[in-house]
């Protein structure tokens, strides 16, 4: 068929549909909602899963993270509990045996995390003191903004040096350059040697309120050896006459491997090793790559569910179109008879009605695409959720709407074409 003729038929179809604007509009609604919801839901889902995956990727796909977990409290309430010391968690032994026995290990990074207060002159902030190795920036997502990070000599000599997060430094030293200044933590003073910005996980960035109540990142990094000797291993907290103590050697061990393949091999080995070293489950093993895989699996299931809902809504929309087209065929029986008498072949009638159906569904699809693109943008803007509109979802949703038009248009169109011209002409 020539292009010009097809354009004429499409013009004719649009003209016929515009004869009943309300009806055509309502018929398109089904497809509009179907297409719009597919694109919008996919965009929101894609955005959510992207954020989750990014968070997991920040943990490092070639890493395994071990964390100390306070085991279920066995002590009973009462006087006897007052001098109870809760002794749990990962140990230096764990870190050393992992480094020495597990194949493929690149770095083992032990960490202690202590709640302390940091003071400079009269300014004071509650912070997290992180005792760690100089290797920390290699594994964590950390930008060194000024000065340097901790050095191996600091570790070896138990130097009283520290590195501050920039937001903390800005609040502690509003008018001075923090580098080479001394801050006090506990009974000791520490020299500030560097400023860093954490770019990693939200929950790894402990926050505290600044003077105006805004949240800031407040981490202080000190050498692990310094942390051990200055703060000790027992952390005591007193409150309202009761006394609680925790004895934890290491709060976290991050293990980095040469490759992600090595991670898979090492996971069961590390679990066995820890089971051997620990009598109670006072640790957890986080494998980012497994989390990533789970997240992808979840996303796949989500997409299947979404796809089914979308398919159903588009089918419902298609049935709506078919219904209206069948009514239209009955209503326009006379016109069909006239056209047949004036030389239209069955195929011409089929084309005419099929084009009308496709114009309805593709028109609905187009409006749906526009709405489906606008909605995620609005969601991003107002609900502060990340949304990603994939071109593929737009193409698929639009393509399906066109296909729905063809599939659900064939039956009414063939009904129209099969009318007997004489009967059709006689139809009132």
């Amino acid at each position: 068929m020539r292009l010009k003729t097809l354009i004429r038929i499409i013009q004719l179809g649009v003209k016929s549909l515009l004869l009943h604007k309300m009806r055509s509009g309502l018929t398109m609604l089904g497809i509009i909602f179907g297409v719009c919801s597919v694109i919008a839901m996919l965009a929101i889902g894609e955005g959510a899963s992207y954020e989750a995956q990014e968070a997991i990727k920040k943990l490092g796909s070639s890493n395994i993270i071990l964390r100390s977990v306070s085991p279920p409290q066995e002590k009973s309430a009462g006087a006897a509990a007052r001098d109870y010391i809760n002794d749990y968690g990962l140990t230096y032994l764990d870190a050393n045996s992992i480094r020495d026995t597990i194949p493929g290990v690149k770095w083992v990074l032990p960490m202690r995390i202590i709640r302390e207060e940091v003071r400079y002159n009269t300014i004071m902030y509650p912070v997290q003191v992180i005792g760690t190795h100089p290797l920390y920036p290699e594994i964590s997502s950390l930008d060194i903004v000024a000065g340097r990070f901790l050095a191996f000599t600091d570790e070896r000599n138990r130097n009283n040096v520290c590195v501050l997060t920039t937001s903390l430094a800005e609040n502690l030293f509003p008018y001075e350059n923090p580098l080479q200044q001394a801050v006090r933590m506990g009974r000791d003073s520490f020299k500030v040697v560097g400023l860093v910005r954490e770019t990693g996980l939200e929950k790894q960035r402990p926050q505290t309120g600044d003077s105006r109540g805004d949240a800031i990142d407040a981490n202080v990094y000190v050498p692990l050896s310094t942390a051990k000797s200055r703060f000790g291993e027992t952390i005591v907290s007193r409150s309202a006459g009761s006394y609680q103590a925790e004895k934890v050697q290491l709060h976290q061990i991050t293990i980095q491997f040469d490759s992600t393949d090595a991670v898979e091999v090492a996971v069961p080995q590390i679990k066995d090793l820890l089971k051997h070293n620990h009598s109670k489950p006072d640790y957890e093993v986080i494998v980012p790559i497994e989390l990533l895989r789970q997240a992808e699996q979840t996303k796949r299931i989500f997409n299947i569910v979404l796809g089914s809902i979308a398919a159903i809504s588009l089918i419902v929309g298609g049935i709506g179109i078919m219904n209206i087209m069948l009514a239209t065929v009955t209503e326009r029986t006379r016109e069909i008879g006239i056209r047949r008498a004036l030389g239209a072949k069955k195929q011409d009638i089929i084309t005419q009605f099929l084009v009308e159906t496709v114009v309805l569904s593709v028109g609905g699809g187009l409006i749906g695409v526009v709405a489906g693109v606008v909605i995620p943008v609005m969601v991003s803007h107002f609900a502060d959720m990340k949304t990603i509109i994939t071109p593929l979802s737009v193409i698929i949703a639009f393509g399906i709407s066109g296909a729905v038009g063809v599939v659900f248009g064939i039956y009414p169109a063939s009904q129209a074409a099969d009318l007997d011209p004489i009967e059709a002409l006689r139809h009132e």
Partner: protein, 242 residues
């Protein structure tokens, strides 16, 4: 020299199956119509005249017998061939005008050419001339609803001429019109005939039949009586046979 035959019908039979009963609408019709004729087909209802018109219009196929239109045996054509042949060789005028409501006057006139794969832009002048011929040159962009019955029938006549047909078939063309408008339409037919068009009218009004050059009366599915009053006119354009 007599005019050539445009239609030849040989022993045409049409039987409808109504449940267990067979109804013979046409019972062996023999008929020949020459070009330049103006034929009125008359008869009571049930006489078979509508069925004959459907046959002549290639809208229906006979149970047996032959129908030659412009030298070709229509009774052997399939549905698509019939459609194409209708579009190229026939012009229809119906009792109830049968214009397409969503199209304008000029678009309605163009419809038969559309199904021959032509473009309105290329044939606009031709369609406009026909509209002027029937006195609607100033109504090209009106829709059927904006026109009176007589005007609609004029559009239908213009439409029946657009493909330069072998013959024009008219089914009670004045049936829905008041007598004054009806006369105007019939005068238009007279003019078309005098200009060399071949016309076949189905009617049961004598005033219509009186204008015709030849009268055929149907009864019980056969040609009951026929009368030729005048000789056919000289045709404006000779059709190609075959």
């Amino acid at each position: 020299m007599s005019n050539r035959e445009i239609i030849r019908i040989e022993n045409l039979v049409k039987t409808y199956h109504m449940g267990d009963v067979d109804v013979h609408a046409l019972n062996g019709v023999n008929l020949a119509i020459e070009e330049g004729s103006y034929v009125a087909i008359m008869g009571a209802s049930g006489s078979g005249k509508s069925t004959l018109l459907n046959m002549l219009g290639c809208l229906d196929r006979a149970s047996s017998g032959h129908y030659y239109l412009g030298g070709r045996d229509v009774s052997t054509m399939d549905d698509d061939q019939l459609s194409a042949y209708r579009g190229q060789k026939l012009g229809f005028v119906f009792q109830s005008y049968n214009l397409i409501q969503q199209l304008t006057v000029i678009e309605n006139i163009f419809v038969p050419l559309f199904y021959q794969g032509l473009d309105l832009a290329d044939r606009y002048d031709h369609c406009k001339q026909l509209a002027e011929l029937v006195g609607l040159g100033d109504r090209l962009d009106h829709r059927p609803k904006q026109l009176s019955g007589g005007q609609q029938q004029r559009v239908a006549i213009a439409r029946s001429l657009v493909n330069d047909p072998l013959l024009i078939l008219a089914d009670e063309p004045t049936g829905n019109l008041d007598s004054k408008t009806g006369v105007e339409i019939l005068e238009l037919f007279d003019r078309l005939h005098s200009e060399g068009k071949t016309l076949v009218l189905v009617t049961h009004g004598n005033e219509v039949a009186d204008r015709a050059q030849r009268e055929i009366v149907m009864k019980d599915g056969v040609v009951y009586r026929e009368e030729t009053k005048r000789a056919p006119v000289k045709v404006a354009k000779e059709f190609e046979i075959g």
